[in-house]
């Protein structure tokens, strides 16, 4: 198994196939234009956002709106909008890079990504020609600002259970909306609301609702733990007349909009988390270099080095996985375009193909950021707990990412659910490799020839993690069949194994590719990050696998699977203290996140 090489994998296929490092995109391959756009975004944040964070968070009247307008003037709101609608028609990688850059912008990042993502994309991908030409040019410049109303007081994770109703008026010209939406980002200043409602109580459908529509009203701003500057309100509809031409997409097909937009949103959330993480690391390392205790900068202490290194390792891994997947989405989009699909369906199809990867990124990205800001607070010590220092805001603002765009629990379940559905449909053959694992377990283990390089060790480790997944997931499917969905704890375990594997493989592929262009001195720190991440990832795969196995098997089967798991997660002893010190020293020397 795991030997068929092909240029580009399909979604989810990483579990059963290897990728060729030359086929993955790595951030070191940005074009000059990418870099120029990135530096423009940095300049924008430095000039227009970061100096005003306190004022933004105090919800100063009109401020967020005016910053959005400035972003619009620079073209930052039209990156993904096609040129024919006044945007720049950039590919997914470019859009991701800009999302990452803006991700360091706290509440502004949320406002902007809600506008450009869940606010604008439903019209771009599901709108009629008239809707697109009416709204997109103004959304691309920021003249109109958008929000997305899916969640209701009674339906969060269970989004399709929304109760908001739409009934066709007697003259057939309007839908009359009645209901209540909850937690709506940008509601306070939005001109457009993408609203989901049940036509006749059972046909879940999207609508474009303009702000001045009679019957639409807003609740007060919610009081939140973080992203305090981002407007979040309830939106009420009381006999709100929406013209029939504002129905978005097909009647009864609202779930297609909601779920497809979420795939893209999840990957973008990981992008924003990456931007936030890089900024938080920069702050952490410069603080650690400055703060003296016991007559030494605290960055000289091993305990602090450990934190700095771990922040960097996780963030670098996230970046590797994020842009690997973004490129896969771009490539698939091109493929679908070449097959004759229109641009909207091509990107949606591509994002759907990689929906598993998008969910992985969402979970991993939000948890990496939470780790980074948590240790950021710790590195700042008491000053991390003070609102006069930046880590307090970073810590509070991070937390929402594990909740919206599908909670991390929902996303973890989706990862496994989507893979199994593909296996059932026959589009992803998990069965054959899973059976091969069974055979392999009966045979004599391969002890290798002893001579290992970091790459060969990590390659084996990643390929073994895949075997561990197939073994555990295969057993779970066999045991529970149709009732597996009820064993959420085991699904979470399997999902964690999958997330570990995808991210481990991503950092491996990136460093393999880097090894063809970087000299051995320069490469050291990258190999250190890769080896440390994968070494500990193998342990985490073991941990998750063990709790799944012990929860579902007993007797000989239990013993055999535990032995198998041990075999599949074993690596040669590795000195992570030294490697983390080397990594931290690079950060400390450069006084920033330098990768």
């Amino acid at each position: 198994m795991i030997d068929t090489k092909q240029k580009s994998l399909k979604g989810g296929e990483f579990i059963i196939r290897e990728s060729d490092p030359t086929s993955v995109f790595i951030p070191e391959e940005y074009t000059e234009e990418h870099k120029m756009m990135a530096s423009m975004a940095d300049d924008f944040l430095d000039a227009e956002v970061l100096p005003y964070l306190d004022r933004i968070d105090s919800m100063e009247e009109g401020l967020m709106k005016s910053i959005m307008d400035k972003a619009g003037e620079l073209g930052l709101l039209g990156i993904s909008v096609p040129e024919e609608y006044g945007g720049f028609g950039k590919d997914f990688i470019t859009a991701m890079l800009m999302t990452e850059k803006m991700g360091a912008g706290h509440s502004f990042a949320v406002a902007m990504s809600a506008h450009t993502g869940i606010g604008t994309l439903p019209i771009l991908y599901f709108g009629t020609a008239e809707q697109k030409s009416k709204y997109l040019p103004k959304l691309a410049t920021g003249e109109l600002k958008a929000s997305y109303c899916l969640t209701e007081p009674g339906s969060g994770s269970d989004a399709l259970a929304a109760k908001t109703k739409a009934i066709l008026s007697s003259d057939g010209k309007h839908y009359i909306l009645n209901g209540q939406k909850m937690w709506i980002t940008n509601a306070g200043f939005a001109d457009l609301f993408i609203v989901f409602a049940q036509i006749d109580g059972d046909k879940f459908t999207g609508f474009i609702v303009e702000k001045n529509t009679a019957g639409l009203s807003l609740g007060e701003e919610e009081h939140k733990m973080g992203i305090k500057g981002s407007s979040t309100r309830q939106v009420f509809f009381a006999d709100c007349n929406v013209p029939v031409e504002n129905v978005l997409g097909d009647i009864g097909k609202g779930h297609l909009i909601a779920f497809n937009i979420l795939n893209i949103g999840r990957a973008k959330l990981a992008g924003a988390a990456l931007g936030g993480a890089k900024r938080a690391i920069g702050l952490s390392v410069s603080y650690a270099n400055e703060r003296q205790q016991f007559k030494l900068p605290i960055s000289k202490f091993g305990a602090i080095k450990h934190k700095l290194a771990e922040q960097a390792i996780k963030t670098f891994t996230l970046e590797s996985a994020l842009y690997r997947a973004s490129d896969q989405i771009d490539e698939m989009e091109k493929e679908l375009l070449a097959k004759g699909l229109n641009p909207a369906d091509s990107l949606l199809g591509a994002a759907e193909e990689f929906a598993v990867e998008c969910a992985i990124l969402k979970v991993f990205g939000s948890e990496v950021l939470d780790y980074v800001v948590d240790e950021g607070v710790q590195i700042y010590g008491g000053y991390g707990f003070s609102s006069d220092y930046p880590m307090d805001r970073a810590y509070r603002d991070s937390r929402i990412n594990r909740i919206f765009e599908g909670t991390n629990e929902i996303n973890r379940m989706l990862i496994v659910d989507m893979l199994l559905k593909r296996a059932m449909k026959g589009s992803l053959d998990l069965m054959t490799p899973a059976q091969n694992i069974q055979k392999e377990l009966m045979g004599i283990p391969d002890f290798g020839n002893g001579e290992e390089t970091p790459f060969s060790e990590c390659l084996t480790a990643v390929s073994n993690m895949k075997k561990a997944i197939l073994m555990v997931a295969g057993a779970a499917v066999q045991k529970y069949m149709m009732t597996l969905a009820k064993e959420q704890e085991i699904i979470m375990n399997i999902s964690d194994m999958i997330i570990e594997t995808y991210t481990s493989e991503s950092i491996l592929l990136r460093v393999q590719k880097l090894s063809t262009t970087k000299g051995s001195d320069e490469l050291t720190v990258y190999i250190d990050m890769m080896h440390t991440f994968i070494y500990e990832s193998a342990d985490r795969v073991n941990h998750a696998g063990k709790s799944a196995i012990c929860s579902m098997a007993d007797g000989d089967e239990l013993r055999m699977m535990l032995l198998g798991l041990k075999r599949f997660t074993k690596m040669h002893p590795y000195n992570t203290k030294d490697s983390r010190r080397r990594i931290a020293n690079v950060l400390i020397d450069k006084n920033t996140y330098p990768f």
Binding site: E32, M36, M40, A47, E73, L74, G78, F88, N591, P594
Partner: protein
């Protein structure tokens, strides 16, 4: 109005400066280069002038191909085309000769540049080029307004300002205040790729100076605080520690 703006490519202000082991060369590896901030001010003013009165802005850089991203950024900000003299910018005399060689006879009404580059801080360029081209050169200008071929400039001088009136063609070096650099927009960035960047070869220039070595400033010493009424202690420290009396 035909304007030439000279830009240099300098390490980002946050760069940690290090040298090679012989202390004769600046280590450029891993360093982020940017348009010299003062040149950026000059460029912004030039773009403002042509936006208002029409005309073209050409940016000129003396340097190697590694500086092309910096030149593209100038194009993204709104310059119309660019020229790069393909040679390492050895010293001020060399660069001034290259600039005057490009500008001579090319019909520029105005040549703008920053008051100094933030790497070597020589502050010689405007004067050197003016001399080589035999046209007026005004340095450290805080504002520049044009009416026809007459320009009014405010100069920064010790303790005040000086107002000068000068006719084109002339050279001015820009200081803070002349313009507020803008962030290039998406349209600018996307059009930068298609704007002409002409590479020309350098003319031969005598080498008049040579870098012997570089050094970084010594770290600041420890500060010892002495109570205001303890002058004896102060005198003692000045004798024994500072050894200045």
């Amino acid at each position: 109005m035909k304007i030439l703006v000279c830009i240099s490519n300098v390490p980002d202000t946050t760069t940690k400066i290090t040298f090679n082991s012989e202390q004769t060369e600046f280590n450029t590896s891993g360093v982020q280069f940017v348009i010299n901030p003062y040149d950026e001010i000059a460029l912004t003013r030039a773009i403002e002038i042509t936006e208002k009165d029409g005309g073209t802005v050409t940016v000129l850089h003396v340097g190697e191909a590694s500086a092309d991203p910096t030149i593209r950024k100038a194009l993204a900000m709104g310059a119309h085309d660019a020229i790069r003299v393909n040679a390492a910018p050895r010293d001020a005399w060399f660069v001034a000769n290259q600039i005057s060689n490009v500008a001579n006879g090319a019909g520029y009404d105005l040549i703008l540049m920053g008051r100094e580059s933030i790497d070597h801080n020589g502050s010689q360029m405007a004067a050197l080029v003016g001399e080589l081209m035999n046209i007026p050169s005004i340095s450290i200008c805080k504002s520049l307004t044009l009416e026809g071929n007459k320009a009014t400039v405010d100069r920064e001088i010790e303790g005040g300002k000086e107002v000068a009136i000068v006719e084109t063609p002339f050279i001015a070096s820009a200081s803070e205040g002349m313009a507020e650099p803008r962030i290039p927009n998406m349209r600018g960035i996307m059009s930068a790729r298609t704007k002409p960047l002409n590479v020309v070869e350098a003319v031969a220039v005598d080498t008049l100076s040579e870098i012997i070595s570089y050094d970084t400033p010594k770290g600041r010493g420890q500060v010892t605080l002495v109570e205001a009424d303890n002058t004896d202690k102060l005198v003692e420290l000045l004798h024994t520690e500072a050894k200045v009396i």
